[in-house]
Symmetry: C2
Subunit: 198 residues, 2 copies
Amino acid sequence: MAHAEFLFDFGSPNAYLAHKVIPGIEARTGASFRYVPILLGGLFKRTGNQSPIFAFANIPAKMAYEHLEIQRFIARHDLPFVMNPHFPINTLMLMRMVTAAAMDGGFKPFVDAVFRLMWEAPKKMDDPAIAIAALEEAGLDASALHQRSQDADVKAKLLASTEDAAARGAFGIPTFFVNGQMYFGKDRLREVEEALAG
Amino acid sequence: MAHAEFLFDFGSPNAYLAHKVIPGIEARTGASFRYVPILLGGLFKRTGNQSPIFAFANIPAKMAYEHLEIQRFIARHDLPFVMNPHFPINTLMLMRMVTAAAMDGGFKPFVDAVFRLMWEAPKKMDDPAIAIAALEEAGLDASALHQRSQDADVKAKLLASTEDAAARGAFGIPTFFVNGQMYFGKDRLREVEEALAG
């Protein structure tokens, strides 16, 4: 069975959009995606890159096109999406928590819940009280995960994944790897699917 | 019959790559592309945008990925491509000449010849003597076109096309329009083709 990796950070709307179409790609190709949590802010620091909202701040036409392509993607795949009014969200806590879930269990329901709380029913998810309450309402033991996420081995794991991503050539989110080939951006998902099918 | 517009400047390798696959899209869809010469440097000034070689100068991983995607595109479409050793080339003279050809005749052979001399058998095409000699060797009356390109109406036409592109939301090259919808980048050609087919 073919495998792909999906490097993500909850703070990226384009990571959310990729997350929503990955199940369809898995169903059509029989492949499975391994989700790899990384810290986008850390990757930016390592690579000299920055978020489109900063990179395109003085290029309004480019920013408008970025938004247009998000709207087209949403329409093509019939996705729910609500821009988070608190964007950009500092995701350090969330990425440590999801790393803890990857190490200890409960990864997939946590990923689904956080992406939903970021980009479907958005909340200020860098506020620990708000995030923990929303996740517990979704049935997750977020308090325990938050506690666990502060352990040194969890912090080290997230740091290592982020450094590994940079070492493999990643500079942004979403990034995919198939058979050692890197693809950047939600708009590469067709090529990713072709690589998995072929 | 469906129509598309292709906004181009000879200085963009990605415009060359688009130019090479457009005939296939026309054959498959029955559509035709109208080529619109614009001055990329002028568009950058108008929109605050800049070339990837400047924008990504301090983001080596992003620049490397840009090159990887060019190589993938070339491989997928089996295209000849040689990086112009004199890149970036100042294209003001060439874009005025192609604008003159659009106004007076001989547009298509001129476009084919210049793209080839930029990106297949590359020459220092911002040197008037080199460019005119190479184009005359290709059978074009480049001296006359060069002379004509210095007339005020030709200069004004290129300026107007560039300003019109900015007014319609363009910020880079290659840009396509289908039914009033804008698409940026060679990697949007699948969506362009779908829009023309659909």
